[in-house]
């Protein structure tokens, strides 16, 4: 019973996570939702899990649930990877805007030497 409660809690959390993710990454959201819902069902109706597991040739229902859990983890991992990519892209755009902005400002100052040259402080990536 303890294991069932724990799994239900975790799968419930996945359900909420998947539901919240459905806008940002529909594929991962829907797949994780379906997998978590199936997992939740099988946790409480293990007989069906065993029947399905036998049908799928997995052996025990518990194994099937573990496999589903692995699939969910991989999906979440994939989602994290995609999010990281989006973050990197945003970061790239930011760094590019800084680099080009600084260069253009420097160009403008060179073009008008009578004005005091306010040079942007170079941003250094060096560790102190």
């Amino acid at each position: 019973m303890t294991a069932q409660l724990l799994l239900s809690f975790l799968l419930g959390a996945i359900l909420i996570y998947a539901f919240a993710e459905r806008r940002r990454s529909p594929v991962v959201g829907v797949l994780a939702f379906v997998a978590a819902a199936a997992g939740l069902y099988f946790v409480w109706v293990p007989a069906h899990a065993t029947a399905l597991a036998e049908f799928a040739g997995v052996g025990r229902g518990v194994d099937l649930i573990i496999y589903i859990w692995v699939v969910i983890s991989l999906l979440v991992l994939l989602n994290l990877h995609l999010k990281l990519r989006m973050q990197t892209e945003a970061l790239t755009r930011l760094a590019r805007a800084i680099a080009i902005g600084e260069a253009l400002r420097a160009d403008t100052n060179e073009a008008r030497p009578d004005e005091p040259a306010i040079r942007p402080r170079p941003v250094s990536a060096r560790t102190q």
Binding site: R85, T92, A95, I98, A99, I100, L104, V123, A125
Partner: protein
């Protein structure tokens, strides 16, 4: 920004990360030619930016290291903003010859193309190790199959493009997969491209800086992730 006719013309974009040892010479070789040179310092921790600026290049600095693809795109964007008529991409490690740029630009106008791609296999590859040759060949076959472009050298950093061509390039692969990405975008643009023989001079330095065979696995992963999240 001052409108100056001298600002147009061909811009040579060099992405450089910790290339202080090689970049000065590369920029100096280009400085005698009638091109504007812009070095994008990709968050180097050495004196790359200072060396490049002293040699006569305009320098853009990424505050953090993002990868060669990102640095090239920054340089291309900047060149277009400054009114470049042509954009040339050039490697920082000294493996390209500055003279080849003229041939690329000439091919653009002679054949009315928007992209001129350097090919070491149509031209000369000096001191290219056999394993590197094999890997490059395999990468080229893969690129030909996936883009449909009839190219002989998929990972050559020496390319020239017209302003119109450059506007079609939007690199999102920050790391090395950008070489394939450029070819995909050239194919997608439907614009005309030509291959031009160029000479690549391999040195111990450029080989150490270049891609290793194992990195092609990472490149394939990057390209695969791109498919999932266009």
């Amino acid at each position: 920004m001052a409108k100056n006719k001298a600002l147009s013309g061909a811009w040579v974009v060099i992405a450089a990360y910790n290339e202080a040892r090689a970049i000065g010479r590369v920029v100096a070789d280009l400085a005698s030619l009638p091109y504007r040179v812009v070095v994008v310092d990709d968050g180097s921790t050495d004196a790359t930016a200072e060396v490049a600026a002293r040699a006569g290049a305009g320098v853009l600095r990424h505050p953090i290291n993002l990868g060669q693809g990102a640095a090239l795109q920054t340089g291309v964007d900047y060149a277009l903003l400054r009114g470049a008529s042509h954009v040339v991409t050039f490697d920082a490690d000294g493996q390209h010859r500055a003279e080849d740029i003229a041939a690329l630009l000439a091919a653009l106008s002679a054949q009315d193309a928007d992209f001129a791609l350097g090919s070491r296999f149509r031209g000369t590859a000096v001191d290219l190790p056999p394993l590197r040759r094999l890997v490059l060949r395999a990468a080229t076959l893969f690129t030909r199959a996936t883009t449909g472009l009839d190219v002989t050298d998929a990972h050559n950093g020496l390319r020239a493009m017209t302003r119109r061509g450059a506007a079609h390039i939007r690199l999102r692969q920050n790391r090395m997969a950008h070489a394939s990405e450029i070819l995909h975008q050239i194919a997608a643009s439907g614009l005309r491209y030509v291959e031009v023989p160029v000479t690549i001079q391999y040195s111990r330095y450029s080989l150490a800086k270049g891609q290793r065979a194992s990195e092609f696995v990472v490149i394939l992963l990057d390209l695969f992730a791109r498919r999932l999240h266009p």
